[in-house]
Amino acid sequence: MSTSLILLIVAIVGLAGYGIGARRSLAIAGGLSSKLHSRPGYYGSFVAVCAIVPAVFILFVWLVASPAVISSSIRGSFPEEVKAQSEAEQGLAFGMITSIARGMNVLSLEEIDRIGSNPVELRSALGAKGVPLAGDPQPYMIEAAGNLNTMTYASRLAMTAVVVVFSVLGAGLAYRRIAPRFRARNRVEKVILVSLVVASSIAILTTVGIVLSMLTEATRFFTHVPAWEFFFGTVWDPRFAAAGSGGSEGQFGLIPLLLGTLYIGFVAMLFAVPIGLFSAIYMAEYASPHVRSTAKPLLEVLAGIPTIVYGFFALTTVGPFLRDLSSQLNGLVTGDYSNFIQAQSVLTAGFVMGIMLIPYVSSLSDDIITAVPRALRDGSLGLGATRSETIKRVILPAALPGIVGALLMTASRAVGETMIVVLAAGVAARIQLNPFEPMTTVTVKIVNQLTGDLEFTSPQTLVAFALGITLFAITLCLNIYALYIVRKYREQYE
């Protein structure tokens, strides 16, 4: 029976339990709900919870545990000479057995009888059904595959039975506990509270998952490539070692990628910070409510546009425009119409990313500027300062820590941005300072390393996780520091 069908049965038992429990409680109280400790619905819910929660829990545990139990039992029945082989070979044999077992489910009974334990015939029969095997199976594998199928079948049957029995049993026990003085509401509310706690710990689990998964994969990478070669290497050249060439695995130097990331982020901030900050100042201090109410949402539209659209804009509009502009300029000055800005360049990516970041800078700083107390403003204006002097000498210094925090948050976005740089920055990993040349970033390389058809255990793929954890660490530090500054600053005026 499929898992979803079992879940459906459990749900039906729970629903029935709800109805029966609610009616039972009313019947016990003689139809007067005032005699009950809780409303009838809570008795019903109590029965439903008892029917569903333990059963689903058992189902989940069974689903996780049974494949491991079955596989260890099958491996235990391997012939001695197979057991003597390495762990990896045993794993291969087990993989073979599972695919045979899958294939045998497709075959009819007569076909299985006819094949018996003839490996060649089995392979051709499975091939005809569209289940290819890597090699000729050994006789013991066919036997093991048969065992595997029986055990899986038995396990599913037992699981179905146990889950349904537990569901009905839970409902029955809960039903028997229904009494006027029974505090059903408190029980149900406790269950709800526990589920709320579980939901909120998912946030923690996500972080733990990010850190653990990336650390384990990155550690595997560092067994191939020493950590210091990764963190301090200046050459990025993840050559794919040809089969049999042995040795040469390429160089995985982080420095060129990190420099590219920081350079492009710096160019982006160069555009975004003045524009965003001046827009924020204008909207907070000068603009009439009318202008503000139209300009602010318009700027925020920029934040709502997906980054892939910015990437496309950079690729098809900004990049070619800058390239053509540079060749025209070059032609005017030197008479040589060759472009000195590449279509994919630090400038293109940085400029478009800067446009993307404007709304982040402006809305964060807008909040911070408007949070500066009125009294400071009035005091300065009252002493005869002009508005711009007030802003420059009083408001900005007061808002500075908050603005720095906002800029740090924006910078962490610039560092983690992917789609714009994938399309507009190029893939050449090199160390140079010309903003008109392409450079590449950490995020681009993560995407490049993981979008091919690669073996998952090769250092070429695993390096993406080492890059990922570096990126995560950088943005985490930026964000925590920014949060710290912003919080501290907020306390000042509260």
Binding site: L196, I275, P306, R387
Partner: protein
């Protein structure tokens, strides 16, 4: 001292002119400062307009497709010369349909079938997609063999671009993709009304294709739809439950403080990191299939959760304490107070936050690239476990195609994506306007 005892020397000074406090200079600085603000603001808005204009001007033509409507003779001689389709249905699948279409077009143009050079050029007017188009017609209804039907055929991508005026025809013939002869034919067909632009339904329903004229976002739309469904079903209940706990129940201690900092950080983690998480946990560890919208949905759920939690907490905070006090005072339990009174009042804010979170998830590309959604999928996914793509990933894939006609398609797909986002955001704004309560 001297100033005080001899006022004579002081008074004329002030009379001669007020102390120069540089008022002109200061006012000029004030105006300059203000102009910087206006310039910055208009720069941002101009670039917004420029971006939208560049997408729309490149993409609006994608919603029209050049079709060639000609009478096609489904002659038995070409399709099934030995008359064996009853015995071998495979015959109809492999018949030479492009020749059927080409000959029909040649007849319309008055080109002899025996003129090998010209007939090849005629064939290039039509898309390769006519093969499947005619095949599907014949397989669906074998009775049309031997009859003549009027069929609207897809024009080739280059003809489509040329007819829309996107290919510069003043370039020397050798340097462009269509020959002068083909241009003449195209104009001839257009004049007689055989070749015309029709509304392009293909871009909405077709799957991936290497030919721009037959490529569409159908598969991507379904994949995105599945993902949005998964994100909604998972992240809304979990997000609301988490925020209720944090806002209403959680004691102020180290643990809840940790969760708090955590959520704020998760909201700022680069999206590509979520892709790595999905790859390591969902695909490698749990063994879920690659390219499946289920995995995409789960990854986007984790990514959207912090946004929804932050919005929900703000909405719960906005419900005044008097509501809680009144419910508690009438004997409701804390749970009842929250679920019967606070939550319904906070619902508009929660839904607004959810829609905005969903809109972000809809436009997200980077994590989906890592979990293998960069796939060439031509068939509709039947379940969330089947391989599919997503709308932004389709845009990314098309943006990397070299052919000119794909730029138009990409912009068209971006317009579709932006339309979805606009609808969602306008929905969120309307929801807020309609139901928001000020206390």
């Amino acid at each position: 001292m001297t100033d005080v005892v001899s006022p004579v020397s002081g008074i004329p000074k002030t009379k001669a002119g007020r102390r120069d406090i540089g008022i002109k200079r200061r006012y000029a600085a004030e105006r300059r400062f203000r102009a910087y603000g206006v310039a910055a603001l208009s720069f941002g808005i101009i670039f917004l307009m420029l971006l939208l204009w560049s997408v729309v001007s490149k993409g609006y033509t994608a919603f029209q497709q050049t079709m060639i409507t000609i009478p096609i003779e489904f002659s038995e001689q070409t399709i099934d010369p030995q008359n064996e389709r009853a015995a071998n249905p495979q015959k109809l699948m492999t018949a030479n349909y492009p020749v059927v279409a080409r000959n029909a077009l040649a007849k319309t143009l008055g080109v002899s079938v025996d003129d090998r050079v010209k007939i090849r050029a005629v064939g290039q007017l039509l898309s390769d997609g006519v093969r499947t188009q005619l095949r599907d017609m014949v397989v669906a209804n074998p009775a049309i063999i031997g009859t003549t039907q009027n069929v609207a055929l897809l024009a080739a991508g280059d003809i489509d671009s040329a007819f829309k005026g996107q290919i510069n025809l003043s370039v020397a013939e050798g340097n462009r993709k269509i020959s002068d002869q083909q241009v003449t034919w195209m104009n001839q067909l257009a004049e007689s009304g055989v070749l015309a632009k029709h509304f392009n339904t293909g871009i909405f329903v077709n799957g991936a294709s290497s030919r721009p004229e037959a490529a569409g976002v159908g598969v991507a739309l379904i994949g995105s739809f599945y993902m949005m469904l998964i994100v909604l079903v998972l992240s809304l209940p979990i997000g609301v439950a988490a925020s209720i706990y944090l806002e209403e129940f959680a004691p102020k201690n180290k643990f809840t403080d940790l969760i708090e900092v955590n959520i704020n950080n998760l909201a700022a983690v680069p999206s590509i990191v979520y892709g790595l998480l999905g790859l390591a946990v969902f695909i490698n560890f749990m063994g879920l299939p690659r390219s499946a919208s289920l995995v995409g949905g789960l990854v986007l759920t984790l990514m959207t959760l912090p946004t929804i939690i932050i919005a929900t907490r703000a909405a719960l905070k906005a419900v005044p304490p008097s509501i809680r006090a009144a419910a508690l005072g009438l004997g409701a339990s804390k749970m009842q107070t929250i679920f019967h009174h606070v939550l319904p009042l906070a619902m508009p804010g929660i839904l607004t936050g959810t829609i905005i979170g969903l809109a972000h998830a809809l436009g997200e590309t980077a994590p989906l690239l890592l979990i293998g959604m960069v796939a060439f999928v031509a068939n509709y996914p039947a379940t969330p476990l089947d391989p599919s793509t997503a709308l932004p990933v389709q845009i990314y894939m098309w943006a990397n195609e070299a052919e000119r006609a794909f730029v138009e398609r990409t912009s068209g797909a971006i317009i579709i994506l932006l339309l979805f986002l606009i609808v969602m955001n306008v929905g969120a704004i309307l929801l807020r306007r309609r139901f928001e309560r000020r206390w």
